[in-house]
């Protein structure tokens, strides 16, 4: 007989919007708010799993509606143990809406909640359940390197991050109109943090192939680990050609919304470091698949943003090199990500271990039952 305890009896969605003040920026976009479409699943035995996706400030309501009106009703009374099967069913359900960031972010919120529930059910931390390749992974700090930070602030924060906070890798946004300015910013930071700190740069898809080739040639002088998204994410031929012009590792993947897109990148030799985004690729199931795909091609992975969640994926697989440190969710969490020097450590509680602070969520709630407790004593 089926295990009735694993049937999903509660599926709630809500939308949180945390303003980013002042707004962050990169070469092509403003980052004015963090939107969190959050999903909470409850099974018949009273166990809860929490999942979420994120946006950089717009489209959250579309994701929320998709969850509330289309996806969550279809989750009720399904067997939570059949994570992959259930996700496949849900994906098909909204397939005609075209695969894309909105659909995959909505699906991700459910997928993450299902995996969280799986961990809770098994009484096991999720990174172990998913493979447990390692129990720590290096962090690189992106928070210091926003493109709209004045140079002095950039240098001071970088120095502080390395000397005070123990980070040994920093990522700087590039893409200022004038390449000299980009070079100056990287040079000053390199000067401040010394030769042993890993530096990477991120152009956020702002260049064309000719710009990229010339600019990367100038930037190579500062001993960088990778150049991230120099070209439009879909320009796979461009990425492949760029590989013939630079020794810098080409990183990317945050703008790919399916495992198939990763497969294509790998097949065409477009990227050297793959950066699946747990939300945008459709959840943990797909993120892990992308990581394994990369492993098969002998490529490293560095999951994009959301360190609290990415650390679970990164520690589950053997080919991860970094997770990205942007502590943007901390304001609604009960506890920050676990750090030890330059390493991020996964939580050791069953599931992914991310605990939202109800009162904080209430403060930032946009949609959904205004005050639904996410962390109850059931944990």
């Amino acid at each position: 007989m089926a295990d009735h305890g694993a049937l999903i009896v509660g599926a709630e969605a809500r939308l949180i919007r945390i303003p980013v003040d002042p707004p962050r920026g990169d070469a092509i976009q403003q980052f004015a708010a963090l939107e969190l479409p959050i999903v909470e699943l409850t099974d018949a035995a009273g166990r809860r799993g929490i999942g979420f996706g994120y946006t950089i400030g717009n489209g959250g309501t579309a994701i929320h509606s998709l969850l509330r009106d289309e996806l969550l009703p279809a989750v009720l009374e399904q067997d939570a143990r059949r994570t992959v099967g259930l996700m496949r069913q849900l994906t098909k359900r909204i397939h005609a809406l075209t695969p894309g960031c909105i659909s995959s972010t909505a699906l991700a919120a459910i997928d993450v909640a299902l995996w969280d529930l799986a961990g809770v059910r098994a009484g096991t931390p999720l990174y172990l359940l998913l493979g447990g390749a390692t129990d720590r992974v290096r962090l690189y700090n992106t928070h210091v390197g926003w493109l709209n930070r004045p140079l002095e602030e950039l240098v001071a924060l970088s120095d502080e991050a390395v000397r005070r906070d123990g980070f040994q890798a920093l990522k700087l946004k590039v893409g200022k109109p004038d390449i000299d300015e980009d070079c100056e910013r990287v040079a000053k930071v390199r000067e401040a943090v010394g030769p042993h700190t890993t530096l990477m740069v991120d152009a956020n898809q702002s260049w064309s192939i000719d710009t990229a080739i010339t600019r990367i040639r100038r930037l190579e002088a500062y001993d960088l680990y990778w150049i991230e998204e120099p070209l439009e994410a879909t320009d796979l031929d461009g990425f492949a050609r760029l590989g013939q012009h630079t020794a810098l590792a080409r990183a990317g993947g945050e703008s790919l919304y399916s495992v198939a897109a990763f497969h294509e990148c790998i097949r065409r030799g477009a990227l050297d470091v793959l950066q699946p985004d747990v939300a945008r690729i459709g959840g943990i199931t797909n993120a892990i698949a992308a990581c394994h795909l990369a492993a098969a091609a002998n490529l490293p992975v560095a999951p994009h943003v959301s360190p609290e969640l990415s650390v679970t994926v990164a520690c589950a697989v053997a080919n991860s090199v970094f997770v990205e440190y942007i502590p943007q969710m901390e304001i609604v969490l009960r506890r920050p990500i676990r750090r030890q020097g330059e390493f991020a450590l996964p939580f050791e509680e069953p599931g992914h271990g991310i605990q939202f602070d109800d009162a904080a969520l209430d403060r930032f709630a946009v949609h959904g039952s205004a005050s639904r407790t996410f962390q109850q004593s059931h944990r």
């Binding site: 007989m1 009896v9 035995a45 009273g46 205004a370 005050s371 639904r372």
Partner: protein, 1004 residues
């Protein structure tokens, strides 16, 4: 037409209902036809009828007088102003036992007169099976008959005088008319003289034809009773109007004949190899002078077996495949028995003697009659078989031809591939059949028409009557010329024209009739929407639409006595507040016209509002209409994404509030009891101010259970494991009940376990349509109980309404879930568990007089048999309260807008019974709400069976003058809650904090 309602309202004192809901409720009778009326009026008295008729005439509106609305031939639905007499004009005006006469209003229910007359050993002989709710107006309209027509004829033979109103406003008193009277009336002229003159010339013109063409059989119901105008019948104008089905006049008052009713009856049942051979012996038996002679076949009995109806009673029948039920009457038991024995002796001598059984105790006789009266229920909706319909359901032939008729009719059925049972008033040659016509496709309807053509030919060829009981209406009128010839049909038309020259009385029925395939309620275009529902309706092809078509219109829900169904109708006497009215509205809701708003229709909600969700209908309705379930389904959609009334949250989620209150029960109780705060709390929660809020216990049952030192006996091995269900009521309010049950179960050698989590069956949620939440709670229960259920542990449920969730709603919501089925099978009441699942249980002694009241849900789903047996085994003298709902019905009676109905329902049966009980009688009621109703309305305190078991075995006798519960269970009886002065300050702060906290907690 718009102004007609306004004009009616201006002149009438009774009700004028032209809203869509009322029109929908009266759109059909008990037939296959449906015509939405213009409006409904409920006159208060004769003057009101006259005033309403004037207005109708001014507006040239058709008029349809209506009784109980149980017509089977379509004569009680029409596009007309319906005059419903049953709410106000239901008086027995005069009962004159000396002259054996009664004067009645048209809305009077037959049994009201029969009960009153029976005291004088008199009765009104024609007794249709609807006798407990059919009205005189309807019986006169239809020329109704029944089992005892054998003894005293049909309605036409029992009406002496009528006071009538014609469409043109003439009010006449009509009856038998001597030649001189006739002459005087004609001479006096006026409308009356004109009518009588016309009747006389009609009679003279057709007398010979009437004499030659009217079949001389006991059940010639088809056609007008023009024979009553013949000189040999005394020019009986009243009787000529009997059976005109509202097509000629409106009856305002009737004077009826009463006949001697033999006070003693003996019942003989004869078993024959088949129903045909049973029919062959009818004439032989009629010679023995029975007061009733009914027949039934094995298909009927099969249907009853499939429906699990009266399983014990069926064993009472003698061997056979066809039966005759013969009743003999006498002024003494010896006399009726002698007649029966004489019949037995006579039959024994004949070749091919039947198997015979003579019953002479009233109880068994009642059960046998129940089998016969269950004919409709046993044939209308049998699982796995197509639904059956009226249409050819009451044909009659000369009794001597009955055997032949039945054989030929069966051949006809076979030819058309119809499967149906044969039963009916065989003594008078009348046959009841519900046939599985397909009325939902054109080919099916064509087949039905062809069959009707052949069947009418068959009956006419045998000298019979198309209708032998239910009238012509629309379903048989088309064929009248076959039976009477075109000249007599013309005579009917002339007769109607004399009374109703403008043709406004129930047009299109009997005379100038609609075809039998017009106005069909289903019809070839019937395509009800397939609605997504929470309940799956496994017995209704998993279709809500099919469920709403379940009601056959027989109107059992409109009776005033016996059983539970339908308490709200018993109080309001409004069609919309009967099970039938509600079922009709739900059907009409799916039709989309006149009810247009679907799940959001306020008329439907209003009709359902007074439904107590007692499930009385599920138990009592012949076709098991389950209104409580439909109501929950409807409300869940009606309130989808809407805010419900406050009481829904206050009481629907009582399990949550109770859990919250259990943190500080004393403070909550103080608030709930103190003068001002209690008023405020009740107002906020939507609770009636007259009610008191039940008190929360200091310590819940679960707290008690978990903190106690284990009973030494419980360690004994091997013990039978029992899961005791800690329902919200017995856990938070009356933990003493559950504690008592724990002790009893442990004493019986069981190991008692509780669910791991705090759970609730969700019963109150159904009342408000919170079905998503209810589903969720059931899944949580299944998850928690899974290991116990797979261990085969029994689940003992103390609260009957919670047990009903596991036996009923659970399976309707999860019909394919194996674990749900296990929970339904493994859960039972305390009494059932002790009586059937504990080996060698020895009940403790309790010599005590006990009034046992069953919760409605208990009665609807199996009854209180186990409780009664257990108490009797203990040595108690048990009186089972004469059924009926207590009126509280869960949270219903607590709600401010239902308080009056709740009290009135309680006062119908239970509360008077409790007050009448002697103080030393212990009142046992397992339902929490029943106990609350008793306590809040009578001052007595009812106890749960568990209390009675706990109190058993005590030494001292109970004193006669003090309430038994106080002496036997002082702890239960004494529940006081001191409100100290200091608490008042606390309360003020408490209310604010509590409300805030509750709000926060609610939103979690």
């Amino acid at each position: 037409m718009g102004d007609i309602a306004k004009d009616l309202r201006r002149v009438m004192r009774g009700d004028v209902r032209f809203d869509r809901g009322s029109r929908a409720a009266y759109a059909t009778d008990a037939s296959n036809y449906r015509q939405v009326p213009i409006g409904v009026v409920l006159p208060r008295d004769a003057a009101d009828v006259v005033a309403a008729m004037d207005v109708c005439r001014q507006h040239d509106a058709p008029v349809l007088p209506r009784g109980g609305g149980t017509s089977l031939a379509g004569q009680c639905c029409n596009v007309a102003v319906v005059f419903d007499f049953t709410k106000y004009m239901r008086r027995l005006v005069v009962l004159d036992p000396e002259r054996r006469r009664a004067r009645v209003e048209p809305g009077l229910v037959l049994d009201t007169l029969r009960d009153a007359a029976e005291r004088h050993h008199l009765t009104f002989a024609p007794d249709p099976s609807t006798h407990n709710h059919c009205t005189f107006g309807g019986m006169i309209g239809n020329n109704a008959c029944g089992v005892h027509s054998v003894m005293g004829g049909n309605t036409v033979d029992n009406v002496e005088e009528l006071e009538i109103l014609t469409y043109d406003g003439s009010r006449l008193r009509v009856g038998a008319t001597s030649d001189s009277e006739l002459e005087a009336i004609v001479h006096a002229g006026g409308r009356r003289g004109q009518i009588y003159a016309a009747l006389k010339s009609l009679r003279d013109k057709y007398a010979d034809l009437i004499r030659s063409r009217y079949p001389k059989i006991p059940r010639r119901i088809s056609g007008y009773n023009l024979d009553q105008l013949l000189p040999e019948n005394g020019f009986h104008v009243a009787r000529a109007l009997v059976g005109t089905e509202g097509t000629c006049v409106t009856v305002i008052e009737a004077t009826t004949r009463l006949v001697h009713s033999p006070p003693y009856k003996s019942l003989l049942v004869l078993g024959y190899p088949d129903v045909y051979r049973a029919a062959d012996h009818v004439v032989e038996l009629m010679a023995c002078g029975p007061t009733g002679l009914e027949g039934l076949d094995d298909r009927l009995i099969d249907g009853m077996k499939k429906l699990n109806m009266h399983p014990q009673d069926l064993r009472l029948l003698p061997e056979g495949g066809g039966w005759l039920v013969v009743e003999f009457g006498g002024d003494s038991k010896a006399e009726s028995d002698d007649k029966a024995r004489a019949a037995i002796a006579a039959l024994k001598a004949s070749p091919a003697a039947p198997t015979m059984k003579l019953y002479d105790d009233r109880r068994t006789e009642k059960l046998i009659w129940k089998i016969r009266e269950s004919g409709l229920g046993a044939t209308a909706r049998v699982p796995g078989q197509a639904p059956t319909w009226e249409g050819w359901e009451d044909s009659a032939v000369p009794p001597a031809s009955l055997g032949r008729y039945l054989r030929e009719l069966r051949r006809l059925f076979d030819r058309y591939q119809y499967a149906c049972s044969l039963y009916g008033h065989f003594g008078q040659g009348c046959v009841h059949t519900r046939i599985d016509f397909d009325l939902e496709s054109q080919s099916g309807i064509d087949r039905y028409k062809a069959f009707m053509d052949d069947a009418t030919d068959l009956v006419v060829s045998l000298g019979g009557s198309l209708s032998g009981e239910h009238g012509d209406g629309q379903s048989k009128a088309q064929f009248l010329s076959k039976m009477f010839g075109p000249e007599l049909v013309e005579a009917f038309r002339e007769f109607k024209t004399i009374w109703d020259p403008r043709g406004r009385m129930n047009p299109g029925k009997v005379v100038n009739p609609y075809r039998i395939d017009q106005n069909l309620r289903l019809g070839a275009s019937y395509r009800p929407p397939r609605l997504a529902t929470h309940f799956t309706f496994p017995d209704d092809r998993r279709s809500f639409a099919f469920a709403t078509a379940r009601c056959v219109g027989i109107g059992e829900c409109r009776r005033d006595h016996d059983g539970t169904m339908c308490p709200s109708y018993r109080v309001t006497h409004d069609e919309e507040h009967s099970t039938r009215g509600r079922a009709r509205l739900l059907f009409e809701m799916l039709e989309g016209e006149p009810l247009t708003r679907g799940w959001r229709d306020d008329h439907v909600r209003e009709a359902l509002d007074l439904c107590l969700a007692c499930k009385g209908c599920k138990g009592d309705c012949p076709v098991k209409v389950d209104m409580a379930t439909y109501k929950a389904e409807f409300l869940s959609h009606y309130y989808e994404k809407r805010i419900r009334p406050r009481s829904a949250y206050a009481m629907g989620f009582i399990h949550r509030w109770a859990r919250l209150a259990s943190y500080a029960p004393r403070i909550v109780n103080a608030i709930a009891r103190a003068p001002l705060t209690s008023n405020l709390a009740k107002a906020v929660a939507g609770i009636a101010q007259q009610r008191s809020i039940p008190s929360f216990a200091d310590r819940t049952f679960v707290q008690w259970f978990r903190s106690r030192t284990v009973h030494p006996d419980a360690a004994r091995l091997p013990a039978q494991k029992v899961l005791l269900w800690p329902d919200t009521f017995n856990n938070y309010f009356h933990p003493d009940t559950a504690i008592a049950a724990t002790e009893i179960l442990e004493r019986a050698g069981c190991e008692v376990v509780l669910p791991a989590r705090s759970l609730c069956c969700g019963r109150p949620l159904y009342d408000y349509g919170f079905l998503r939440r209810a589903r969720r709670m059931l899944l949580e229960i299944l998850a928690d109980l899974q290991p116990h259920l797979e261990d085969n542990a029994s689940v003992v449920v103390l609260e009957p309404s919670c047990l009903a969730v596991f036996h009923d709603e659970l399976l309707n919501l999860f019909p394919d879930d194996a674990l749900a089925k296990r929970l339904a099978q493994q859960s039972c009441s305390l009494a059932e568990f002790l009586m059937t699942r504990v080996q060698g249980y020895s009940a403790p002694r309790l010599s005590q007089s006990i009034l046992l009241h069953g919760h409605c849900h208990q009665k609807a789903l199996g009854g209180v048999g186990h409780e009664e047996c257990l108490l009797k085994e203990m040595g108690a003298t048990v009186t089972v309260s004469d059924s009926g709902c207590c009126g509280m019905a869960g949270s219903f009676g607590f709600e401010a807008n239902h308080y009056d109905v709740s009290i009135n329902v309680g006062e119908l049966v239970l509360l008077p019974a409790v007050r009448a009980a002697s103080p030393d009688t212990l009142i046992v009621a397992d339902g929490f709400s029943c106990r609350e109703q008793v306590e809040q309305c009578t001052g007595r305190r009812a106890v749960h069976l568990a209390h009675a078991l706990k109190a058993a075995g005590r030494e001292s006798a109970v004193q006669k003058d003090r309430p038994a519960e106080e002496q036997m269970l002082p702890a239960v009886a004494r529940r006081t809650f001191p409100v100290e002065l200091a608490a008042t300050v606390l309360i003020g702060a408490g209310v604010t904090l509590g409300a805030l906290g509750a709000w926060q907690w609610w939103r979690r």
